[in-house]
Subunit: 333 residues, 2 copies
Amino acid sequence: MTAEQRPRRVTSADVAREAGVSRTTVSYVLNGTPHQKIPDATRQRIMHAVERLGYAPSATARALQSGRSDVVLCLLPDWPIGPAMGTLLETLSTSLAAEGLTLYAHPRAAGRPVSEVWRSLGPAAVVLWDELDDTEVAAMRAAGIAVTVALLSPTTQRQGELLVPQQRTGRVQAEHLAATGRRLIGYAYPEDPRLKGFAEPRLEGVRTACAELGLDAPVVRTLPMDAEAAADAVRAWVAEGVTGVCAYNDDVALAVLAGTRLAGVAVPGDLAVVGVDDIPAAPFASPPLTTVNAEQGVIAQYIAALVIRGLSGKPAPRRPGSDTIHLIRRESA
Amino acid sequence: MTAEQRPRRVTSADVAREAGVSRTTVSYVLNGTPHQKIPDATRQRIMHAVERLGYAPSATARALQSGRSDVVLCLLPDWPIGPAMGTLLETLSTSLAAEGLTLYAHPRAAGRPVSEVWRSLGPAAVVLWDELDDTEVAAMRAAGIAVTVALLSPTTQRQGELLVPQQRTGRVQAEHLAATGRRLIGYAYPEDPRLKGFAEPRLEGVRTACAELGLDAPVVRTLPMDAEAAADAVRAWVAEGVTGVCAYNDDVALAVLAGTRLAGVAVPGDLAVVGVDDIPAAPFASPPLTTVNAEQGVIAQYIAALVIRGLSGKPAPRRPGSDTIHLIRRESA
DNA sequence: CCACCTTACTGACACGCGCAAGTGAAACGC
DNA sequence: GCGTTTCACTTGCGCGTGTCAGTAAGGTGG
């Protein structure tokens, strides 16, 4: 409490003093600098000192000196993150780690400007889900951030931006329903307004698929996360002649399923239901939920490639093929 | 491609030159250093220069100079992260942000030592879920990390470690089943070996609750994520006289529910089922799933308090009360 | 004996920033 | 007219690291 308020950091200078050499020599030994003849005797003396003092180099100073920071920041969206996002982050982290990059995710704090966040970290690249405005991008560039990968930007396709194939998921849902003979399909839109950015392109995919297949436009209905309300929606759909429903995701699909049970509607006989994500609960629904799944691994690796190429100044790789989206056929459709 | 390979960072020196003042004056203006009289004329000259050049201070240099980094690192566990973890991170991020701290989560990359991760960031504090060994803690201290909050460490209660009330969730599950007249209860253990650290204390809570209530020890059964296998487990439980099952979490509980459907066992009549987490799918199960929910918000705020107190050198606040765990009663138990 | 090379190091700078201490000029008190 | 205070700044140091450019000691060739 009195003597040592802060335990003072162990620096490479401490190691040098302990080993009786200069700081430079310590640096050479620890970094294995080539073309530098250091005899094993001193080498071991230094390693011992490192061990004894418990020295760990300062990431901060390293980053400052080298100018680059091997840190990739992922700004998480503010909508609830599920298992799909989890595995995506995991794969992304691993892919980047293979290249010596470290991924950090920031769960957005309520009422805090994004600029403050990336400023306090000084990353080499930023991955995010929302669209961001030009001034923000310019500010990042000025702060030394080389690459920004923005997913899900409906408007312009800027440098290094990627549209995660949301439309495709909608398309696959609709095509499956059409293939099983459904002529009029409904869309179960999520209640949470924060999900709009994701829901809109998926719905768009369903719309265009319907148009191409010569079907009527989908009947969109916002679905409250409540079984009774879902039952009302189901009844309304059936009354309108809807025979198949694409849900925004599996959670919404499960709500629809609960609604069919209350409304006494047979699935898939009277109404087929398709979800998105293949959450762990999907196979255990009654009936087991047919769903569309994007291979998070492939997407993550593509994002990683985008970041790595961007950092080395090379052009972006081409987008992954359409085989990243799979239909998982169970019994609900 | 030829002239400016790297766009060279805009520094405060550039701003100073542009505004015709010294770098220090720029620093004073930007940081609003007190007891420093700067006339509005120069102040605005500087702000204009900042604007024009698009200057953003380097987080790295700031951290190096100030010695502290206002960054809190959360090392995510390697088991699949669900919505519960998501909301916890979100609340934690917000709570820390109120104190000027920024939270970053690192999804663990396969086959990468943890030490490399916190080293590349140099955080002020680390929050993690596993237990960590003494040498690792010592290494962190040497690297200047002030606080480490480890959750879920079954053995020793080290400085600033916290046991998220896992046992309590198990206890609440068991007590509810006992209160509804179940005399012999089963425990549905998760298949994924990575979940052991979480599952064991929950099971322990069930065990002690059974013992205290004068019931037989719970019948533990590992539940594969497969409906047929789950049905086998359900049949076996029923044959043994088990009338209530505590599941590790809602996903497992939903598997049990699917098993009961296949096995023709009535829920909750023949077998009651209680989950943990209250995932979005829980209310839509058939029957709607009774589950136990930890208030992630309260836990997150406690962790945040722990970190903040730790950084300011004050002692840890006392643990949150037992009211963070709630039973959400639906129809499955 | 000196030129020359290798070995094993070290000195000093730069990275971008915050801040303690100083400095010249103007204003003020008596 | 001179000492003192206030104003509006600036000079300079240090944070911990990587690395270029030396440099003294020792060996080799002629």
